[in-house]
Structures are given as C-alpha cells and as structure tokens.
C-alpha cells in the first residue's frame, strides 16, 4: 500500500510481540498479530 501511494525504499523491521501477556494476547495469537517498524521515503 505504501508503494501504491508513491513511497519508495520501503523497509520493515523485525516483528515485536507487543501484546504478549496483555489482555489482547488471545486475539493477537489467533491472527498472528505483531508490531512492526516501517520506513519509507517520498521520492525527491
């Protein structure tokens, strides 16, 4: 989606188990939900 919006050089960081031991851990496990850092650049 970022590339469709015109961004380039898209990078994605490693997954972070952000919901571990939180109330939402069940849903997170069911759908394999993790946090990620994203980096992209607007062409210049």
């Amino acid at each position: 989606m970022m590339e469709e919006a015109g961004f380039v050089d898209v990078q994605v960081g490693p997954p972070v188990d952000t919901f571990a031991e939180a109330g939402g851990e069940g849903n997170a496990r069911a759908f394999a939900v993790f946090g990620y850092a994203f980096l992209a650049r607007k062409p210049g």
Partner: protein, 207 residues
C-alpha cells in the same frame, strides 16, 4: 510478508462510528493510564518495544504513562538534529517528546490528535517540560492541519491500523512530506487472515 490491510480491512465499518470508538478508548488511556486495557501502556511498554532507556528515563511520568504504541518508529533510523517532524495520532505525546530530544531545539515537532483529553495532557506536559519546539494540534490524520511539503519526517505509532481509509492516510502523509522526506511509523500487522465478520465488527477494532 506482513499484511496490514487485513488487520483493519477495507473500510467495512462506518468511519464516524469508528472514530467515536477510538476517541472513547483513548480518552480512557489519557485519564486512567494505569487502567485495564488489552494492550500494554507506559514505561513497561516502552521498555518492551526497545526504546532508549536513557531517553525514556529522562521523561516525566506524564509524558510516558499514556503511551500505547506497538513498536518503535525510531528503530530503523533515528531522527536528525534540525528536522521537522509530524506525529500522526500523537496521543499523550510520548513519541513527540522522544522526537523532540532527537531533533533538538533547532528542530520542530507537531503532534496531531483528535482526542481532547490526549491533547490537553500532551500540551500541559510540553509546557511543564519547557519544550517550546513541540506543539499539538487538533485534527484528523486524513485531513492534517499541516501545510504542503512541511515535514522532513512523518512518524506514527499504532494509529494507521485504526483508520478505515488507509489510501487517504498515505496520500495525506505524502502531501505533508517534503520531496525526499521519510515516513517512519510503527503499526500492527497480521500473519493469519481475519474473517470478514470480525473485520466488520467495530468493537474488535479497538479490542
């Protein structure tokens, strides 16, 4: 490959109703940051997500306690001194205060949020800290109160997944960034498909 579209779906919910739901949830996080939520908050969360301890420890509790991000938007590249930053969905201001330390007094940081209680909290904290290069504006990230091409970097943390029209959000980010500017954000993404019925259940967007 991570999948961000499936987590939030392709706008199967009413945008205004979703905004009301999101405001209600994050109003709770602003006024009762130590309450029970389905996500972690505050200093324990910042530690879990790998933020720099020295920076987090230097911030007062009010700057950190309502933090509810999902990863670290500064982990792939730090900000540079003097850069102009926009934080979309700035909440209690935690990422803005981290950004403010990275860009220094020559930089500028503008946080945008739609929840009155979060704006009140972040503005008060910025004033208490004497951060006059940080400001917080009331607005929607689909229609940011930022001029064209102002920002060197747009940051965000756990917010874009809550917006039903992601194409509009990315188009708006593109508008406010300078040519060559960066988008550095953190968000959730799912590895397993989410059933359509779950995507259409507005309660599950913030649960």
């Amino acid at each position: 490959m991570v999948n961000q579209e499936v987590v939030a779906g392709v706008s199967p919910v009413d945008p205004d109703a979703l905004r009301d739901e999101v405001r209600a949830k994050y109003r709770e996080v602003a006024v009762d940051p130590h309450g029970e939520f389905h996500f972690h908050t505050g200093r324990p969360l910042a530690r879990r997500l790998g933020y720099d301890d020295a920076i987090v420890d230097s911030l007062p509790d009010a700057a950190v306690e309502s933090f509810a991000g999902v990863a670290n938007p500064f982990s792939l590249q730090p900000l540079a001194p003097g850069e102009k930053i926009v934080d979309i969905g700035s909440g209690g201001g935690f990422d803005c205060f981290v950004a403010a330390q990275q860009v220094g007094a020559e930089g500028r940081v503008v946080g945008i949020d739609m929840t009155e209680e979060m704006l009140g909290k972040s503005r008060q904290t910025a004033a208490d800290m004497g951060f006059d290069h940080v400001e917080f504006r009331d607005g929607l990230i689909e229609e940011m109160p930022i001029e064209d091409g102002w920002a060197d970097v747009v940051i965000s943390n756990g917010v874009i997944n809550l917006c039903p029209d992601k194409a509009q959000v990315f188009a708006e980010i593109n508008r406010v960034l300078k040519p060559g500017g960066r988008l550095q954000y953190a968000d959730i993404a799912n590895g397993n498909p989410v059933p359509e019925a779950a995507v259409a259940d507005i309660d599950l967007w913030t649960a």
